[in-house]
């Protein structure tokens, strides 16, 4: 195996596009190194993208926020502006692993690892995040939910890699939140996770909403019926019950060592109700 640490995006593309090299992108490495150790990945080369300066930056743009693909979760948590605008996304990223893992793990890595249980993905999907992808054919931008196509599989083409996560500007009277359920208080993979972003009108009625569900299907689920349950309401009990029911209905989980399908279907609704209340309160705060 070879180790490469290019300093430009173009060099990285060239290394990744070399089919013979069978290269993997190394960002935080908190998934890749574990998979290599377990013989579940055996790349011919590793392309460490942390030496590309632009990939280490969080920048506020005209359209919102650009988070470089090599920015670790801990740096996001320390960024006051980002945490103010997208607290749900930042909190979701801050739930990935331990403090130690936070020092390395990235949104881009969490997304491209394509685990159905990735914590940051439902939060990003709810937040309408996009990913910026560089590749031999140039740069393209796609919604986050188009990246994972199944457990461990992504839509990235050969030679492509994610260079940044793009979050929109936070609108007035909007807020987001992410909650997950794990058996312990820390260190577990999500049994179920729910990201919600919503916006209100000035009467406090929900105008728009996105509800994304994690760990209850092979990929993240954008639950349109769940969002509809919130729109036009002030998140009264009936709306929250409808939200929970819609989430449970949209979920297609499996039984595994982390929980049963029945449990996941129930808990996803519980999490959705709780996350919606947080997002709603946050939306109100921006008034």
């Amino acid at each position: 195996m070879k180790y490469e640490a290019p300093s430009t995006i173009d060099d990285a593309i060239a290394l990744l596009a070399d089919a013979q090299a069978a290269a993997s992108v190394l960002s935080g490495g908190t998934d890749l190194l574990v998979r290599m150790r377990a013989d579940m990945a055996a790349p011919g080369a590793i392309v460490d993208i942390k030496r590309i300066p632009a990939l280490n930056e969080i920048t506020e743009t005209a359209d919102g926020w650009r988070i470089g693909a090599a920015v670790p979760s801990a740096v996001m948590s320390e960024h006051d502006g980002l945490a103010r605008d997208w607290p749900g996304v930042v909190e979701a990223a801050a739930l990935i692993g331990s403090t130690q893992v936070q020092g390395r793990a990235t949104l881009a890595g969490n997304l491209c690892n394509a685990s159905p249980a990735a914590d940051s993905v439902p939060a990003m999907v709810a937040a309408s995040a996009k990913v910026e992808i560089a590749g031999p054919g140039g740069t393209r931008t796609v919604p986050v939910e188009e990246i994972p196509t199944g457990p461990g599989k992504t839509s990235l083409a050969a030679g492509e890699f994610v260079t940044a996560i793009l979050l929109p500007k936070r609108a007035a009277l909007s807020g987001d939140a992410y909650l997950r359920f794990i058996p312990r208080t820390e260190m577990d993979i999500a049994v179920a996770g729910c990201g919600i972003a919503l916006s209100l009108d000035d009467t406090g009625t929900c105008q728009s909403a996105r509800v994304a569900l994690g760990a209850v299907g092979p990929t993240v689920i954008l639950a349109a019926d769940a969002a509809s349950a919130l729109i036009g309401t002030k998140l009264d009990d009936a709306a929250l019950e409808a939200l929970a029911a819609a989430c449970s209905a949209a979920a297609t989980p499996i039984d595994d060592k982390r929980g049963t399908a029945a449990y996941r279907k129930h808990v996803i609704g519980v999490l959705a109700k709780r996350a919606a209340k947080i997002a709603y309160a946050r939306a109100g705060e921006t008034a």
């Binding site: 359920f181 058996p183 312990r184 208080t185 820390e186 993979i189 595994d256 929980g259």
Partner: protein, 750 residues
Amino acid sequence: MALDKNAPETRSFKVVGSRPLRPDGIDKVTGRARFGADMSAPGMLIGHILRSPHAHARIRAIDTSKAEALAGVKAVVTRADFAAAPEGMEDVLDNCMAGEKALYDGHAVAAIAATSAAIARQAAKLIEVDYEVLPHVTDVDAAMAPGAPALHDGRSDETVPDGYSANVMSRVEYGHGDIEAGLAKADRVLERSYKTAATHQGYIEPHACLATMGPDGQADLWCCTQGHYMVRNTCAALLGMDQGQLRVTASEIGGGFGGKTTVFIEPVALALARKAGRPVKIVMDRTEVLRATGPTASSSIDVRIGMTKDGRITAADAELRYQGGAYPGSPVGMGSMSAFAPYDLENVRTIGYDVVTNRPKQAAYRAPGAPMAAFAVESAIDELAKGFGLDPLDVRLKNAAREGTRSSYGPTFPAIGLEATLRAAKDHPHWSAPLGPNQGRGVACGFWFNFGGDTCVTLNVTPDGTVTVTEGNPDIGGSRASMSMMAAEELGIPYEKVRTVIADTGALGQNEVTDGSRVTFAVGLATIEAARAAKREMCARVAKIWGIDEEAVIWEDGAAKPAGPNAGDYPPMTLAEIAAIASNTGGPIAGHHEVNAEGAGVSFATHIADTEVDPDTGATRIVRYTVIQDAGKAVHPAYVEGQFQGGAVQGIGWALNEEYIYGADGILQNPGFLDYRIPVASDLPMIDTVILEIPNPGHPYGVRGVGETSIVPPLAAVANSVSAATGVRMTDLPMSPPKVLAAVQGQQEG
């Protein structure tokens, strides 16, 4: 040995009972301490073990030729490289390296030594094993049923009645009285079944060793173990060596809890070193630790208890079924003996079945066999007490075993501390503190035997009057400090003047492993006796100097003094003064003591747990926890508290989240700390402790073992607390969120 009956409770102590810094502390906070994997040797090879991917398979053939041909591979061994095991050690050998069959997922089938870990791992992939996959069974009740896939044929012993599968290895029965007559007197008879999952000791340090063997057959082994004398004896037997030719040095040990009381990789490393002619180091990874070392048994237990409406137990009956993995030896005997030990019962019976399954061979885990039994019994008693509207502590006090009680397992108890722990629990502010919404409080008792065993201590006095204590039990939690304290106490010198070292197997005679909460008791006893021998020698030397009878010299406050008719005739001679002229008075001064220490005292505990259960998710949080336990005499109270807290938290993990999860294919689903979920810091509150001291008459200072009892009550204390919080009785451990939620929902529907 004769018991020291010198009324320990009346003694006042100067050093014992204080909290000095541990002598190995600096090394352990600076990273200098050398644990199992921290040793290297010139020319060292790295060993790697190939493991079965099948739960049960006949090994038709193993072809190692391609692996042997790989550049950098220096030796490959299989079972053929080991001699036939001596009688009684066949299972240990077969567990270290499979013979005819692989009996569980992870069972070792071959091993490689190579110049690097990467080459060794690559070589493992080149070994071709021809497996005939066989039907498997991992559940204890399924394994007992007639027609279950049999691991071994014809190994059931004479105690097993007809009608069971060949997987039932033995049956035990304890008790006295007449169960049915007793039950007839009860106002209510509760019958319940309980299950507990297999859990792992979860020590953070994986097994590691470094072996060297020369062509002359002399060998050295460095390893992390709870007993390097056991390692020596076992490895020598499995490799056909003389015990004296194998010197074993115990590294610092990164946790054991019983899991390092046997061998796994050590004989393999020696076999590789013998074949390669070079040092070989083997370090397990976490996956190997979970797949192929010794978790504890899983259990299935039926309990029948009769109680009068005023809380008196009229009869208690239990059947315990423990699977201990692929070989006989589950701790069901100790589970059966301990199940009802806290109670004074006229009619009591326990029946235990030892069952084999396609899982790794169980190893001891802190009070082996007792926590599961206590979970069942303490849950049933709690349910009965609640049903009658009685205070669960009052019910336990009403039935508590005390001095003179004929125990459920036979012997009559001497002075014991159960009642004291129950009264202390009642008086503790925790017991009467208010609870919040969705919170509940549970209480449970626990019992453990504690042991002694073979022990050697040598105590040397240096020329400048400092003292070295040499002992043979790895220091797993601060025992060097305790030994230094007891030597200092006995000699009347400051703690700082004593240093305790753990010797290799060449330096002392046989020492039993660090287990059964025996070290502070047994090694402490031998340390005290070694110090007394040294004092006698020093008094004899001084008697010669003064020209008086030996009997006329006594030892007091670290000095020899004239006594009796000679009192005051000579100024006292301190230990340092005597040591300085030792060469002139007969040579170096030492004391030693070798003993099979008997007379360990049993220990009881009562735990109080508060939990809060999220009714929507079934998640359980420990809100408050208090441990009350009899320590006999707490030599170093800070480390006694640490044992109480650590055992309680392991029990909390067992109660809530820890479990071996097997798939239908018999493969372990969660061989890592990600999904084998031991408690993390944020899961827990502070763990309050109350140390009671009811002296053990079998020890000069009254010491009882403290390490194991603390894991016995938590399973039931937490379960009783969850039941109080939710109104549903939890009978299946772990009480993971899906199970708790299902129970709560079932109750709402029901």
